[in-house]
Symmetry: C2
Subunit: 215 residues, 2 copies
């Protein structure tokens, strides 16, 4: 398969997502309760920046301007972050884990339909996030120490998935060829999109459970 517009869209969207994740996590580091947690968050941020660089390099190697490839996705990704500003350290952690998880589920599924090289890159970036152990441990500790927080954090998880889906739909409306790619990949079946959203929802429920929270 040729390196097409959909592949450039996928890499551009993922690249801008990773860049914003870098910015948000770096900012969240200041909310950490102590220096080692602060450094752990910073390390996660730096890993996201590394992905951003790899994705930009891949775009450039295909003759695409990375800045141009990212531009169509800035509004949706910025809107997601704007509407999900964490109020504290725990909300920031959950956002990193749950928000990245949802984004990666979408990216992985779309990657199934692009050229193998792009697919491998996307999957390697998605697999490399590895926030899970640190975040799950910290959130479970916090809930154990103060079980009342679980209700607030469960609500926060619901807000995150709601805003993420709203922005995913906004992107789908504007980036026609991404949607056509997914539909064509699924044999032109119109249920393919619904199936995608319900798969991502299932994975989200799994992540909330891992945190010890109701989805």
């Amino acid at each position: 398969e040729r390196y097409g517009d959909a592949a450039a869209d996928l890499l551009g969207m993922l690249a801008y997502g990773e860049f914003r994740a870098f910015e948000k996590l770096s900012a969240d580091a200041a909310m950490a309760p102590g220096m080692s947690d602060r450094a752990a968050i910073a390390e996660m941020a730096v890993a996201e920046y590394g992905h951003f660089q790899r994705l930009c390099a891949a775009l450039a190697s295909h003759g695409r301007d990375p800045v141009g490839a990212m531009a169509p996705f800035e509004a949706a990704i910025d809107a997601f972050h704007q509407s999900t500003q964490p109020m504290d350290w725990l909300e920031g952690l959950i956002k990193a884990y749950v928000g990245d998880g949802i984004a990666m589920d979408f990216y992985r599924r779309i990657a199934a339909y692009v050229d193998p090289q792009t697919r491998d890159l996307v999957i390697s970036v998605c697999d490399d996030l590895g926030h899970s152990d640190f975040v799950v441990g910290r959130v479970r500790q916090a809930i154990a120490a103060d079980p009342k927080t679980a209700g607030r954090l469960a609500l926060w998880g619901r807000r995150l998935v709601g805003e993420a889906f709203a922005q995913a739909q906004a992107v789908a409306v504007e980036r026609d060829h991404l949607v056509r790619l997914v539909l064509a990949g699924g044999g032109g079946d119109q249920d393919e999109l619904e199936d995608l959203f319900s798969q991502v929802t299932d994975a989200h429920v799994g992540r909330m459970r891992a945190l010890g929270l109701e989805a």
Copy 2:
């Protein structure tokens, strides 16, 4: 020479300074006028985080807890950043260049008096900053486009050096063995400290000139 308390102080101070520089630069990235400048600032931030990691590893390899080694310098470095919040992108750039420059001048000079391994690490970290070309180019462009900004930015440079010296003095008062190290290195000469400050001032004037600003 043995790896001593002064070496641990130097590495701890530098490590916390680099970590805060990482946090500040990441936050400043959002003020950048476009995506490529934003990415350039983020890259500088990530380089500072890399230094932080190397410095922590060096502390740990000497059996020192990095968090403990950084702790005595948090107040002074935090106070510096608190009192020098950039109002815009240009002020952020100048702070990165001028502020880091001043800090590195102090670190390099102190490094002359510690064990060779620590000295090499500190010098390599200080040399690797390489903000210069990017920042000098951007600031000169901005002044050429709007010469009136030069006055405000020159004032900003003076504020940066003033606050940096105030915090350096606060550290000197509290960390006796750092001062004794410098004094002993200079043959016990009391002028050694004054000489240090005047050397740093000269280098600062040179950096301001490079930016096209009056010191």
